[in-house]
């Protein structure tokens, strides 16, 4: 056992046994390593638990988001997305587990965390008796009045938001724009966005995507929750799926899509026997039309199918993208199998 420890120690001199004495030089090396780790991680949650009475909202969330990445957080309603985000800002206190945001414990120093974070809540509510500019100036006051107001005007212009309008007269989409502006206006290091494009029309959604990519280019980390798979695919570099308060998967968006079942329609130049296609792993033949078409269900990678199709005279080929529900279903089925 000791021999093994020596081998491990030679590979990584900063490692120590619990309670072991460390020389100052080694302590320094360990501290440097910790700082380097902290610098590369924007937020980390470990074994995060939270219950509301009898309801266990989070059952041990483990999450790690690297600095500078755009991270998507997916899950159905009630899965624990909002609860996780609100724990990160110390709006609610977890029952157990640890959280570090930009290297800071939000419970120990919430103000330091919030000073470096821009937040957009999932259910945005604003004081209806204020005008748009009044609300933004209030948020600016809370941040110590250090916002570049020309940047606020620029954001408002890009999102077609009239700063002179009373909030009570605004539609849900326009209120959402205020939420986006207030989150972006302090140039935060980390953006925590709970469904950032909810209520926005497709053009404005695209503008928000552009703004978030620009924030990322300026060095910000973006952590957002969403229900829209196309949004996650368009924006996120990595994605986590939360199910019943537990992270069930962390992957790239394309991996998620490939895991789900997809439907495929193939039209051939002549009538063919599709049996070889159905024999490919993960392919199910759902139907064959009287003429030259087949309807297939694909589970997993497309590679085998594409290679098999190369032997057929293909005229046309159409894939139906999986919905978020189908992706969830894939994970839920996988989760249920594991539990069984």
């Amino acid at each position: 056992m000791l021999a093994l420890w020596r081998v491990i120690r030679e590979a990584d001199p900063a490692l120590t046994l619990v309670g072991e004495w460390q020389s100052p030089a080694r302590r320094e090396l360990g501290a440097v390593r910790e700082v380097t780790m902290t610098e590369s991680i924007a937020l980390v949650a470990q074994k995060l638990t939270k219950s509301y009475g009898q309801v266990r909202a989070l059952r041990g969330v483990d999450l790690k988001v690297r600095r500078g990445e755009i991270f998507g957080f997916l899950g159905p309603n009630g899965a624990g997305k909002t609860t996780t985000i609100r724990c990160l800002l110390d709006l609610i206190r977890p029952d157990g587990g640890t959280v570090r945001v930009l290297g800071i414990d939000p419970q120990a120093d919430p103000v330091a965390v919030r000073a470096r974070v821009g937040y957009l809540p999932g259910e945005l509510n604003l004081e209806s008796n204020l005008k748009v500019e009044g609300a933004l100036r209030y948020f600016n006051d809370l941040r110590g009045n250090n916002t570049d107001w020309s940047f606020v005007r620029q954001l408002a212009e890009r999102l077609e938001l009239d700063l002179t309008m009373p909030i009570r007269n605004l539609s849900k989409g326009n209120k959402q724009k205020i939420g986006v502006v207030q989150a972006l206006m302090p140039h935060p290091e980390l953006l925590l966005l709970d469904e950032p494009t909810a209520g926005l029309d497709p053009l404005m959604q695209q503008e928000v995507y552009r703004l978030l990519r620009e924030a990322q280019a300026d060095g910000a980390t973006v952590f957002f929750s969403s229900h829209i798979i196309s949004e996650v695919e368009a924006l996120a570099e990595r994605v986590a799926i939360i199910r019943e308060g537990v992270i069930v998967e962390e992957a790239e968006p394309s991996q998620l899509v490939s895991m789900a079942m997809r439907h495929l329609w193939v039209r051939f130049k002549k009538v063919v026997d599709p049996t070889p296609l159905a024999a490919v792993k993960g392919i199910t033949l759902l139907s064959q039309s009287k003429d030259t078409g087949v309807h297939l269900q694909v589970e997993g990678e497309m590679d085998g199918l594409i290679k098999a199709l190369a032997a057929f005279p293909v005229r046309d080929f159409e894939i139906e993208r999986p919905s978020l529900e189908e992706i969830f279903l894939a994970y839920y089925k996988a989760g249920a199998k594991e539990e069984n």
């Binding site: 009475g53 709006l91 809540p121 006051d141 110590g144």
Partner: protein, 279 residues
């Protein structure tokens, strides 16, 4: 903290204006009526003919023809309940109102500590109450020169101090209850009910000695009203302010430990036990 203080005052400006105008008009009217009322022939006999229970309820009704008695009975006797409507309503929803509307979630995501948010709002509420009472004082003092009341500015000011202190106590109680009860509405109703009950008990205690032993444990017992015009009871005033400070401290303590809801009214909790569970 100053941002929240300023914001709270701005939000309360409508209520401050409304209550200020109301109190100013009432004060002006009562000052202008003083000379006419006290000069009504047989006015004291008329008062003396009232049922003794009614006379006892309002205190020393026979003193109504003196400036001190007039101000006490027509103003300070029931201003606790009248201005109490503002105080209890504003204070109960000072933090919880925004939480129920889902506004507090976003406010608290900004770099402001819970202590700064709490203090900014509470001090804003205290300042708003002080401004309303200041207008009330000016509405008596400024026109009094043209009446026969003959009181100085300090004599007019003295009874406003215990009024401010007792209102502060009920306001802070409403704030504390809003931290413990499911909604601002319930906290406001309970505090308002307690204020009205205390007012009625104080009146009834003038005719019933058993009630007098109970009211010693209620805030209005230590409220001087118009009696402070001649001599202010500093101990009672300090006591009321000290209780307010303790209530504010408890409310702050609860606010430090509570989960901020996204919106809507909450349910009953066991706050004192759950507070020890902070992670």
């Amino acid at each position: 903290m100053f941002a929240e203080f300023k914001h709270t005052l701005r939000r309360l400006r409508g209520q401050m204006t409304g209550w200020g105008i109301g109190l100013a008009l009432y004060g002006l009217m009562m000052v202008s009526l003083f000379d006419s009322i006290v000069s009504i022939e047989g006015f004291e006999e008329l008062i003396a003919s009232y049922p003794p229970e009614l006379l006892a309820f309002f205190g020393d009704m026979m003193a109504i023809t003196t400036p001190k008695g007039y101000i006490d009975i027509y103003y300070f006797n029931y201003m606790t309940v009248i201005v109490g409507i503002f105080v209890v309503g504003a204070s109960a929803s000072l933090l919880l109102g925004d939480e129920e509307k889902g506004i507090l979630d976003l406010v608290m995501a900004h770099p402001i500590s819970r202590t700064a948010l709490f203090l900014g709002r509470w001090l804003g509420f205290v300042a708003a109450t002080a401004v309303i009472l200041l207008v009330g004082w000016l509405s008596w003092f400024i026109p009094s020169g043209s009446s026969g009341m003959g009181l100085t500015w300090i004599e007019f000011l003295r009874p406003f101090l215990p009024l401010f202190a007792v209102l502060l106590l009920f306001g802070t109680l409403a704030l504390l209850l809003s931290m413990l009860m499911p909604s601002a509405r319930v906290a406001g109703m309970v505090t308002g009910g307690f204020l009205v009950a205390d007012y009625l008990l104080m009146g009834l205690s003038n005719t019933n000695q058993d009630i007098k032993s109970i009211v010693k444990f209620t805030p209005l017992y230590y409220y001087q009203g118009g009696a402070a015009i001649t001599e202010l009871n500093w101990e009672w005033l300090a006591g009321l302010l000290a209780v307010s400070a303790v209530l504010a401290l408890l409310a702050w303590w609860r606010f430090q430990r509570r989960d901020i809801r996204v919106g809507g009214e909450g349910g009953w909790r066991w706050p004192f036990f759950s507070s020890f569970r902070r992670v």
